[in-house]
């Protein structure tokens, strides 16, 4: 497991049904591209990135992103969503090494 990985999500506490709101996400991750060489040994440093990010709301997919090695460190995604009822948003990041990081945010309708 890569070190120092910490998911962060910012959603509004309350959303209006049928109106778009903005979600910001960031996961701290070094995103090792697999293209760099170790300066001392000359060996390639193995790729270690977050390769997929998803967001689900009450079981429905909101966004599903595949991430490639060119994405820089600490990948940040911002997107808009529309919900019709209150519920839980589940954010999931998939690491090359098999680790899965997730975090959940409740969205209320107000």
């Amino acid at each position: 497991m890569a070190s120092g990985v910490k998911p962060r999500v910012k959603t509004p506490k309350k959303a209006t049904a049928g109106e778009a709101f903005t979600i910001k996400t960031l996961i701290s991750h070094k995103m090792e591209s697999g293209q760099r060489k170790d300066k001392k040994t000359g060996e390639l440093i193995p790729r270690s990135i977050i390769n997929r990010f998803t967001c689900e709301f009450n079981g429905t997919s909101v966004i599903d992103i595949s991430i490639e090695p060119a994405v820089s460190t600490n990948p940040y995604f911002q997107f808009d969503a529309v919900v019709q009822e209150a519920g839980d948003m589940v954010f999931t990041w998939y690491d090359d090494d098999g680790s899965v990081y997730d975090t959940t945010k409740s969205v209320a309708i107000g």
Binding site: K6, R8, K24, L26, S28, T73
Partner: protein, 284 residues
């Protein structure tokens, strides 16, 4: 926001304009963070400054995109490092089995205002930086190894402590016991060095607002340090930045944590007396 670029370019184009508008802060000179913390990014120059009427934050010299990163703590990449700082604050290290929080039970909030007055002269008459205080505490109280001067751990913890002073005016002492260090720093600031034979003042006093190839020269204020730079995606300390400047003018940099940079840190901080602490800021 982009207005500042135009205004300062005009400064360079006509000397009459410099005298006319330098003392007036533009209407776009206000930085609001998280929608509620308003930071004044320009102030009347401290009285010891002979050649500048108004001191302005480096934030004003950046592009709209970079400026907006600093206007929301979620967007500000520095907060990844502030989080590392929080973890380090709680991390037990050294032979005494202590962390920062073992003694400082009120949390980093205890140090509100500290960064605004650093560096300062200690009880023995020596100039000390926040970095040196942290390392002294690590060695003497925790029995731990000191951290490297500008590496991630130190920069993250100083960013966390600096954040507690955000919104407060920079106010370093330059008189009394600090005077000889300040004079030394001032001498360094105006001394030409390196193959290109440039002093700090050559860019940051005489030519701020001007493009130096692709870079927009600021006044070189340190009110936002340690700062996240987009170019290297990490926190940058003042001493690391001084080092970078010296390399740019093809000079041999002084040592990080050395007497020269400590004196320069004091002098440069004093040039920003009256500006607001923005730590942790975002720059390019």
């Amino acid at each position: 926001m982009g207005m500042y670029l135009l205004k300062t370019t005009a400064f360079a184009a006509g000397l009459a304009l410099v005298a006319g508008s330098a003392a007036v802060a533009g209407e776009d000179s206000t930085l609001t963070i998280n929608g509620d913390l308003t930071i004044s990014t320009a102030a009347a120059a401290p009285s010891h400054l002979e050649n500048i009427d108004e001191v302005v934050s480096g934030w004003l010299f950046r592009t709209d995109e970079t400026q907006s990163l600093q206007m929301d703590d979620f967007d500000n990449p520095s907060f990844v490092f502030v989080d590392i700082g929080i973890d380090l604050w709680e991390a037990v290290d050294g032979t005494e089995g202590k962390s920062c929080s073992s003694c400082h039970t009120d949390g980093p909030e205890e140090f509100a205002g500290l960064t605004a007055t650093m560096p300062r002269v200690d009880a023995d008459g020596n100039l000390e930086t926040l970095t040196e205080i942290i390392n002294r505490e690590r060695v003497e109280k925790m029995g731990a190894e000191p951290w490297k001067y500008s590496k991630t751990k130190m920069a993250s913890l100083t960013a966390l402590i600096g954040l507690q002073s955000r919104g407060m005016p920079v106010n370093v002492a330059i008189d009394g016991a600090a005077a000889p260090y300040w004079e030394r720093g001032k001498e360094l600031y105006y001394t030409r060095v390196g193959q290109l034979d440039i002093a700090c003042s050559g860019c940051h006093e005489d030519n701020y607002g001007v493009m130096i190839r692709a870079d927009h020269l600021s006044q070189g204020q340190t009110n936002g340090f340690p700062t996240y730079r987009l170019k290297n995606a990490k926190m940058n300390t003042t001493h690391a930045r001084f080092k970078g400047c010296m390399k740019n003018i093809r000079a041999t940099p002084y040592a990080e944590g050395g007497d020269e940079f400590k004196a320069l840190e004091l002098y440069v901080a004093s040039r920003g007396n009256g500006l607001t602490v923005e730590t942790p800021s975002v720059r390019n």
